[in-house]
Symmetry: C3
Subunit: 166 residues, 3 copies
């Protein structure tokens, strides 16, 4: 049985375990600012989007971030490391309520809530951005990766610039 | 073995899996504003209460919300959909630290922490309400449902009206 | 097979279950203010530290709290119960993204994110402190305990005194 088939036949319980591990690793990668490893959580091609909930629910195309390939994710990392000018900050992510909705054509539909906290230098930690992940996962190189990851956030405001991925 | 017996004999590990699924589904039902599905998470009869921690710990009867039957839950949903006048908002729930304390007379005692974030239109996302779920679950229609759900919140203040369930 | 060996040979899935249980119990012990039970989560000897992330990452020794033995943890509890003068408050802890990094010499390296909310009397619930647990666990008395627990928090500010453990 190849890796893709193995995932397709996992019990709901074993699949939850795999997803808990994946989302914990994903959040830690970003929280620990290992941004160079971030694109490796995605298949190639892939879609990564950050959109306000209002736009998403009305079907409006406007996205705050839109990456339509893995190369684009790498570009984002380069921007964080070299180009962008921004105040130093820590972002910490909490993922909760992971739900596997099922497989369709070797794509696994997953939902989860995320909360990102932000801490600017000499400031208190505060709620930065919260919303829902609407993800499609596929098996690539023997493990689950994001074929599509949409971060739909509840507020159209963010207290500060969106510098780091969610 | 009937469904109730199956749940009663689950290992601690399998029970945790069932609870993780249930609480994720419960939060998503409310976060996604599928309020009509919410009463289906409860047995009939049931108790649903939202109370400040101070009142709960002193044994005071006053509750912010008190629903003493499934019909009452349905009434709440009608109020949300048709009666209540309130500013549009998104509420998002994070459940953490689920603990199964054990079965007594076919009732499963469960504790968990919840955090509800609220986002009003054109405002930042903020902490709305946080506390502990003190729940009693029973098996009905072959699955775990809430026989009693008490949301005990830490602050006697809420930044805004409590419109949606927790 | 003794208890220590049993833990060492657990599958990743079973180990995640054990850690989810442990961290839920740990948070509940503190949230419910059963402080006398708190030192029992630690081995003897043990290290418990709360440090700002900046200090930790620069290798600076300064810690906000430093307990270098189980007796020191007990002293902390005595201070909370008898010595310290502070405004009444509730603290509630959310643990997310637990990751077991592996065993070295019978010590299990674990990471997780934590968020502590605080509610002062007649005030709203707010973000109090958030950061990463960097823990080393060992098997003692047949169960997993903290040989070392370091709470590395993102903000050098705390909105109020740090009275209760994290």
């Amino acid at each position: 049985m190849n890796a893709a088939d193995r995932y397709l036949t996992l019990s709901a319980r074993d699949l939850r375990f795999e997803l808990e591990e994946l989302y914990a690793d994903y959040a830690a990668c970003l929280d620990e600012e290992r941004f160079e490893e971030w694109p490796e959580f995605f298949t190639d091609p892939c879609i990564y989007k950050i959109v306000p909930r209002d736009n998403f629910e009305r079907g409006l195309p406007l996205a705050t971030w839109l990456c339509e390939s893995k190369g684009y994710l790498v570009d984002r990392v380069t921007a964080i490391r070299k180009t962008a000018v921004y105040a130093p900050r820590y972002v910490r992510r909490f993922v909760s309520g992971i739900r596997a909705l099922g497989w369709t054509d070797a794509l696994l539909e997953v939902r989860a809530n995320y909360l990102a906290l932000e801490t600017l230098q000499d400031e208190l930690t505060r709620v930065f951005n919260a919303g829902q992940y609407r993800d499609q996962l596929a098996v690539e190189d023997g493990r689950l990766k994001f074929r599509e990851k949409i971060c739909i956030f509840d507020s159209i405001l963010v207290p500060n610039s969106l510098i780091y991925p969610l």
